[in-house]
């Protein structure tokens, strides 16, 4: 079984580029040049230098002693929360902005849900002196005010998406429509392993730095270059794709993807795509997604805006369907509990998204001699308002 993308942009049954003709030229252009550019020595040198000096990589692989004691196992945290801008998202935006520059693009557009990808995009646009327009659902603009402020200070224009459900999926639609209307100068800097081929592969490659570092760090810290389990949360799936990437072919490693169950899988307020979804087409990709029998995409729910997406990337749909990945869910409450637990035990306030991955520790039977890596995709500063509400009750 292969877990890499094939020549047609598919992972098994999933992926492809189901896009209107208006996007054909843009997507072809990207498809035809991305590998040559990002695999060139010049690119790799620039990319790695920025990751080191600007982003602050490598991020530590931290042995969480107190957490390990609690769960009677050996738990490591991959500290993506320590990246510049506070999440893994910047690994991807640094890569794509360099790519956009090499392609001669002069205007950057992006979508954002929680605002983390928007901030990471606005950041690299400021660095590269490129104009930046971020589409964000009107509802998300209201619930993620600090990140909206950061984007504005960084010089980005935040455009509210007012169509449909006014959240991430609609922001993505608006970004794609912008790209249709501005095909020549504009680069669409997508934030997860979603969208038409080659985006899922492109973003997975940029995020794969996470598992690349993990291998070296594990070798050094445990004497073995792979863990028994890797746990990551899945919104679109970029931090999980990056954490799994170099272990996809190593069947000794259990890959655990945690989705947001929201208020409960069957509560009608959930974002558990593999539980509730069926195969269909969302944002140009054939994948698992939440929809009704008419093919209308349904609105997901999660306490964490970053997991509030009605699909998952095609790689993850393939991992789910093939059985290579273990998929589970964590509710809002379970994520909150896990966030408070990590904070109290280790003095680390995680992002609400990452807290979903942590919540899986409670649901798994971990062995004493096992090595478990939790991908701590982001820090919790942006979620303080939510945490404070729950602290008082």
């Amino acid at each position: 079984m292969s877990y890499s993308v094939n020549n047609n942009g598919f992972y098994g049954d999933f992926g492809g580029a189901f896009i209107p003709e208006m996007l054909h030229h843009n997507v072809e252009e990207l498809k035809n040049c991305y590998l040559d550019i990002i695999e060139s020595d010049e690119f790799i040198t620039e990319y790695k230098a920025l990751l080191k000096d600007y982003v602050g990589r490598p991020t530590p692989l931290y042995f969480a002693k107190n957490l390990s004691k609690k769960y009677q196992s050996n738990i490591f945290l991959k500290r993506e929360d320590l990246n510049h801008t506070g999440a893994h998202k910047v690994n991807n935006t640094v890569g794509q902005i360099l790519l956009a520059k090499k392609m001669g693009k002069t205007r950057i557009i992006a979508e954002t849900g929680a605002g983390q990808h928007g901030v990471a995009t606005a950041t690299v646009c400021a660095l590269m002196n490129l104009p930046c327009i971020v589409y964000m659902g009107k509802i998300d603009i209201q619930r993620q005010a600090p990140n909206v402020a950061r984007m504005k200070m960084l010089g980005a224009e935040v455009r509210p998406a007012t169509s449909g459900s006014k959240t991430l999926k609609d922001a993505t639609n608006e970004a794609i429509r912008d790209w249709i209307a501005n095909p020549e100068d504009t680069y669409y800097l997508i934030g997860s392993v979603v969208g038409p081929h080659p985006y899922p592969d492109l973003v997975a490659r940029f995020q794969s730095i996470i598992s690349e570092e993990m291998k070296t760090q594990l070798q050094k810290q445990t004497g073995k270059n792979y863990p028994n389990k890797i746990i990551a949360c899945v919104g679109g799936g970029s931090n999980a794709a990056g954490a799994f990437y170099h272990f996809l072919e190593n069947e000794e490693v259990e890959l655990i993807a945690v989705e947001a169950d929201g208020k409960g899988v069957h509560s009608g307020q959930s974002a558990a795509t593999t539980e509730l979804g069926t195969s269909g087409i969302i944002h140009g990709s054939k994948t698992l997604m939440m929809q009704n029998s008419e093919g209308q995409i349904t609105e997901p729910y999660s306490i964490s805006a970053g997991l509030d997406y009605p699909g998952i990337g095609p790689l993850h749909a393939h991992l789910f369907k093939s059985g290579r990945g273990t998929f589970m869910g964590a509710t809002d409450q379970e994520a909150l509990d896990a966030a408070f637990e990590l904070t109290q035990l280790e003095g680390i306030i995680p992002a609400l998204e990452s807290a979903h991955a942590l919540a899986a520790l409670n649901k798994l039977t971990l062995k004493k001699d096992e090595c478990v890596v939790v991908n701590l995709s982001g820090r919790g500063d942006k979620d303080m308002e939510t945490y404070m509400t729950h602290l008082s009750c």
Binding site: H24, G164, R177, S279, G284, Q296
Partner: protein, 256 residues
């Protein structure tokens, strides 16, 4: 009977009007198409409302949202076409929608039902040409359902000829870099593009769409193609106060 072929053979300056099924009211498509036919409109494109219509601008998006809230389903759209066909015999009817809607309905069932109720062709902007050729074309042909693919100012000549060849309904010439309803006038650069397409002398009829909104833009488009498609401007007209029939008559009479 091939309604599409006959229309292109017998008529000039073809006016194709887009409407959103289920808008403004759930069953209005029946009356709207009947009235459009009476007013001498040559062809219609019935939009199947989709929650995430990537190729559509704000006006059509909004009408789709309202139609979905009204409860429109693909099945009802088929029933409405069947009802329309009781009185409207010769008018070519296209359905326009997104690939996911066909997949969820089941492509074979969709095509069989479409043929049965009297649909002539489909426009599915996000169905890739290669997927159509490799997976669906035979079934489309077996059910006599024609396809219309889009070309844009960025589509190169080789691809245009490939797309034209597979466009058994008509070739949908997208007028500019835009989603539907994008612009209100036709610019010089667009004229140059229309001329370029005209000069290719493709042996498939062409309709220009996106941003055609009034008699002026319609007449300009007709100079370079067999006709044009009006969508957002018509939907906007339906949004005004007044009874459906009057709004439709007024709109069509201003164009034709």
């Amino acid at each position: 009977m091939n309604r599409i072929k006959e229309t292109f053979q017998n008529k000039k300056d073809i006016l194709n009007i887009y409407l959103t099924a289920g808008y403004p009211q759930l069953n209005d498509a029946v009356e709207i198409v009947q009235e459009l036919a009476k007013q001498g409109v040559d062809m219609v494109e019935v939009g199947m409302p989709f929650s995430d219509p990537l190729a559509d601008g704000p006006v059509i998006q909004k009408s789709s949202e309202i139609a979905i809230a009204n409860g429109i389903t693909v099945q009802q759209i088929f029933e409405q076409v069947q009802e329309i066909r009781k009185t409207v015999k010769d008018l070519p009817i296209f359905l326009m929608g997104y690939y996911n809607q066909l997949i969820q309905y089941g492509i074979a069932d969709f095509l069989a039902t479409a043929e049965k109720v009297g649909v002539d062709g489909l426009i599915i902007p996000d169905l890739p040409l290669a997927t159509y050729q490799n997976e669906h074309k035979k079934l489309f042909e077996a059910h006599h359902i024609k396809m219309s693919f889009l070309i844009t100012p960025q589509t190169n000549e080789q691809r245009i000829s490939e797309i034209a060849q597979e466009s058994s309904g008509f070739l949908y010439v997208v007028s500019s870099y835009a989603i539907t309803g994008g612009k209100s006038s036709i610019e010089e650069s667009q004229l140059a593009y229309f001329k370029k397409i005209e000069a290719l002398q493709l042996d498939v009829p062409k309709l220009i769409g996106f941003g055609i909104s009034d008699s002026e833009t319609f007449n300009t488009a007709c100079k370079y193609a067999e006709g044009a498609i009006i969508g957002s401007a018509f939907i906007k007209a339906l949004t005004n106060e007044g009874d459906l029939k009057t709004k439709i008559d007024k709109f069509v009479q201003k164009i034709k």
